[in-house]
Amino acid sequence: MPMILLSRAEEIILLAVYKLQSNAYGVSIREQVNDDIGRYWPFGVIYKTLKKLKAKGYVKKIASDPVSERGGRTRYYYKITPEGLSALEKILCIHSAIWGGIKGFSLEKKAK
């Protein structure tokens, strides 16, 4: 099976969805991304990326029952699929592979 590389944005969002487990929806994903990389992404970027992930089959979109915090409106949750998980695994492998051969690139240098 040909390997579909995730874009960096997709990787970040997919990881956020994974980390949030059953509580991944627009607001929480945005917070998670902020926690991870230190800034808020525009909603548009988040939804766009989620849509692409959904089209690739890595996440599912689930409409919740009406939520009182939203004035009785639906919240849209995202859940990672098995394909999403294996994509994450692959990404991890690639990361270790491409970073693996490098020696001497350490925090020491950064500290200098």
């Binding site: 627009g26 525009p42 909603f43 548009g44 939804y47 766009k48 639906t74 849209y76």
Partner: protein, 870 residues
């Protein structure tokens, strides 16, 4: 607890709603509102609002990109499906695209033609103030409007009317001039005399020389760039001289070549000062000069036209009254001359606005036929797309999306066809120019405005054509289509048959038109003209040589040629221009002034041209008094003078021409068509006056044409070694008069064939579809014993019915249009009912042939194949 009553800011909310639909909107608004409510509750409301604004604004670029991304995926899918459909049904796609492309190519060509006709003289600077002044001459017996007027009018206009900014005259040479520079010499047709003021009125850009000074002195000459190159190559022509008919002219200016779309075409312009000693220059009664004027700004042209109506009365009013004549002048906007002015002595044959209208309609009709093909085939073949529509609907396609998809497909076809049409038109243009002689210029449509218009037009056509099939297709119910029980081709049956009727009605009209035109041209060519036009070789005598003195010996010399039976000299020949002079009857109380055409020839003309006499005798060689001492008139002149019989005319004395020669009438000829058949035979006065002989006519034996010509040419060379030999055959030259009408006829014919072809393409598609959708029925019929012929007839029958109906619609329309067209001709054929029947049968035969091709194929198919899948 969060207070849900805090309303989010209105504008960003509306923005979100604008860009997002359905679930996407609910998700985004829900998420952002959740945080907003929280922020409102925990902090300042203004900050929360600001935050809301910023979040929405920063998201919009991403959202837009997102929309484009997903749309493009959908469009890619539509495109893929459309292309697959084209490929799978190559035949139908070919019919659609070929039909559209040919139809559009014809429209393009017609568009170019129409634009060209309408663009005549629209390029003049301040064109809305530029007019030509023409003259309506009313005599007790006739009322004639001349494009040419007296040379006195232009100076009078400038002197008496302050509204006139500038006025200038032009005198066009009747005959071509022999132009010589050293060893180069040619006959040039487009020679004229002009006032320098003409350059202020009309836009004639100078590339060298000064327009204000160029034509002030006598014998100065302005030439076009084309002439400069022809006679001077790359030398500078300014200050050099050209010899024209033995006069020397100094070149004082070079002008840009006149465009094709002007009624006044010129190559050499000499100064009017050259003619200053000519007595005609102060004659109020002569009609020789085209006069153009430019009004001052804000002068109302129509109002001024009425003011100048009687401008001559101040000078010659008394004399006109004595003659019982009256002169009325009026203005014509210069840009209207080509299409709307049909006066005597136009500079060139005028365009016919009727043709512009007819062609516009023909173009539209042919395009309509192509559009109808598309609509017919798309709806007829709807069944093939029904499953796709059903599938799309099941997966969630909305109706408007499907409509969009099918509209898009028809747009694709039309845009593609437009491209193909431009290529077709480009390649067809030299052909059209060749066959018809109308010079079309492709550059007419290569400007951004026209191109944009074309694209917009074809999008319009695509939408108009696509809307009906799109509505039909998108209305399918998914359940029934997926179940497979679709009524198929029977949908919109009446509509489709109606379209076929319209298509064939148009074809029948076009064919009837073509046939009637061909008949009319044939009629004109074969109509007895009152003289023999065959086997006449005509040699113009021009370029500064004359045969006034020695015409008898010249005639004798050419008669030595064994192939030449006879020779004659004349001032003009039938089909060429004849001059018009005032004439009056001497010795009777009720003397009336008239103006009549004059033709001058020697005694051999009447026998050589086979003109019959109605009374009296023709000129005779033995009678020396016949030379410049006697008149012949034709029967039309007898009628114009009010005599009851030709015999009555004999012995009456007429006064005519310059100097008022008085001579008796010695004979009356029968009417002969010295001008084309568009006009009635008008009164003609004939005189044997060598002063004006300009044509030599040889009656030749055409069995060995090359030998004959060779001898004639060598004889010419021995007489006039310095003048090039030229000649023409009278019949071809005479028929030239019908050229512009015939050109139109030919184009019409071409378009008719193409229109019929497109209609047949559509019929072929429809027939094959019908046969296809009735495959099973045909199979069963055959199994039950139907014959091949029976089935073929059954399949063809319905089309026959519609084509017959089309005939009934087409005939009255064709009759109306063609009887209007025939009114252009004074001598015309009758409209024969046979033509209608023939056209109808022809169309029917073509249609049947088209249909039977499919019918027979369907009827001969093996029923085992068609029923196997049941």
């Amino acid at each position: 607890m969060i207070n849900h009553k805090t309303k989010p800011p209105l504008i960003p909310w509306a923005l979100m709603k604008l860009f997002l639909k359905g679930e996407d909107f609910r998700e985004f608004s829900g998420d952002i509102d959740e945080i907003y409510q929280y922020k409102c509750a925990s902090g300042s409301k203004r900050q929360a609002k600001l935050w809301f604004w910023l979040r929405v604004l920063e998201s919009i670029p991403g959202i837009i990109r997102d929309i484009v991304y997903w749309r493009s995926i959908m469009i890619k899918n539509y495109l893929k499906i459309a292309l697959r459909n084209f490929q799978r049904h190559k035949g139908y796609s070919f019919i659609n695209i070929a039909g559209f492309a040919i139809g559009m190519a014809i429209c393009l060509l017609i568009l170019i033609y129409v634009r060209q006709e309408q663009s005549y003289d629209t390029y003049h600077q301040d064109g809305d103030r530029v007019y030509r002044i023409v003259q309506d001459i009313r005599t007790p017996t006739a009322n004639r409007v001349f494009a040419m007027i007296s040379p006195m009018v232009a100076p009078t206009l400038k002197a008496d009317y302050p509204q006139v900014e500038q006025a200038g005259r032009a005198l066009l040479a009747y005959q071509s001039r022999l132009v010589r520079r050293e060893d180069t010499f040619f006959y040039e047709d487009r020679f004229m005399y002009a006032d320098p003021e003409l350059f202020d009125v009309l836009t004639i850009p100078f590339s060298q020389g000064n327009p204000r000074e160029a034509l002030i002195r006598p014998h100065t000459l302005v030439i076009t760039e084309r002439m400069a190159l022809k006679y001077f190559g790359h030398e500078n022509p300014l200050g050099k001289t050209l010899e024209i008919n033995n006069d020397i002219y100094e070149i004082t200016g070079v002008v840009v070549d006149p465009p094709e779309n002007t009624h006044l075409k010129y190559d050499l312009i000499a100064s009017i000062e050259t003619l200053r000693d000519w007595e005609e220059m102060s004659n109020w009664y002569s009609t020789m000069f085209y006069t153009y004027l430019k009004l001052k700004p804000n002068v109302n042209g129509e109002g001024f036209s009425q003011q100048v109506s009687n401008l001559a009365d101040k000078y010659v009013g008394e004399q006109l009254k004595d003659m019982e004549d009256s002169y009325h002048y009026f203005l014509q906007p210069v840009s209207s001359i080509h299409l709307h002015s049909h006066l005597r002595y136009e500079t060139e044959p005028s365009g016919n606005p009727l043709y512009v209208t007819i062609f516009s309609f023909v173009g539209l009709f042919i395009l309509l036929i192509a559009c109808l093909n598309f609509m017919n085939l798309s709806t007829a073949r709807a069944a093939n797309r029904a499953r796709e529509v059903g599938m799309r609907k099941v997966v969630g396609a909305r109706r408007f999306q499907l409509i969009g998809q099918f509209l898009g497909e028809s747009l694709l076809v039309t845009i593609f066809s437009l491209g193909l049409a431009m290529v077709l038109a480009k390649f067809a243009m030299p052909l059209i120019n060749n066959v018809t002689g109308i010079v079309l210029n492709f550059d007419q449509i290569l400007n951004p405005v026209v191109l944009a218009g074309l694209i917009a037009g074809s999008i319009g056509v695509g939408l108009a054509t696509g809307v009906y099939p799109a509505l039909v297709l998108s209305a399918f119910r998914p359940i029934s289509t997926l179940k497979g029980n679709l009524a198929g081709g029977s949908r919109g049956f009446a509509m489709r048959n109606g379209l076929v009727v319209v298509q064939f009605a148009i074809s029948v009209v076009l064919i009837v038109g073509t046939l009637i035109m061909a008949r009319q041209f044939n009629y004109m060519k074969n109509q007895h003209l009152g003289f023999e036009k065959e086997q006449k070789l005509v040699i113009p005598i021009r370029g500064g040589i004359s045969i006034l003195e020695n015409y008898e010996s010249v005639k004798n010399l050419f008669s030595e040629n064994p192939f030449v039976q006879n020779a004659t000299v004349s001032s003009s020949v039938p089909g060429r221009s004849v001059s018009n002079f005032g004439i009056s009857l001497v010795g009777e109380e009720d003397t009336k002034n008239q103006s009549m055409f004059h033709l001058y020839f020697d005694q051999d003309f009447i026998p050589l041209y086979g003109i019959e006499m109605a009374a009296g005798r023709a000129f005779q060689k033995e009678m020396s008094t016949d030379i410049a001492g006697a008149f012949l008139i034709n029967e039309a002149a007898v009628a114009a003078f009010g005599w009851s019989s030709p015999e009555e005319a004999i012995g009456k004395r007429l006064k005519t021409g310059f100097g008022g020669r008085v001579n008796p009438i010695i004979g009356v000829t029968k009417n002969f068509h010295y001008r084309g058949l568009q006009t009635q035979v008008e009164p003609l006065v004939m005189e044997c006056n060598p002063q004006l002989f300009r044509y030599l006519t040889l009656s030749v034996d055409i069995t060995d044409i090359q030998e004959t010509m060779a001898i004639v040419e060598s004889q010419w060379k021995s007489l006039y070694p310095n003048n090039p030999f030229e000649s023409f055959f009278l019949d071809t030259d005479f028929d030239q008069q019908y050229r512009s009408d015939e050109q139109v006829g030919r184009i019409f014919g071409i378009f008719t064939v193409l229109g019929l072809f497109i209609a047949c393409l559509g019929l072929l598609g429809l027939a094959s579809f019908t046969a296809e959708s009735r495959t099973k029925e045909i199979g069963i019929r055959k199994v039950l014993g139907a014959s091949v012929l029976g089935i073929a007839v059954m399949l063809s029958k319905q089309f026959t019915k519609w084509v017959l109906l089309a005939n009934c619609v087409a005939w009255p329309v064709a009759y109306y249009i063609m009887s209007r067209w025939l009114k252009n001709f004074a001598y015309r054929t009758d409209i024969n009912i046979l033509i209608f029947v023939l056209s109808g049968l022809f169309v029917l035969a073509i249609a049947l042939l088209t249909v039977s091709f499919q019918s027979i194929r369907a009827a001969t198919a093996n029923p085992a194949d068609s029923l196997r899948y049941e």
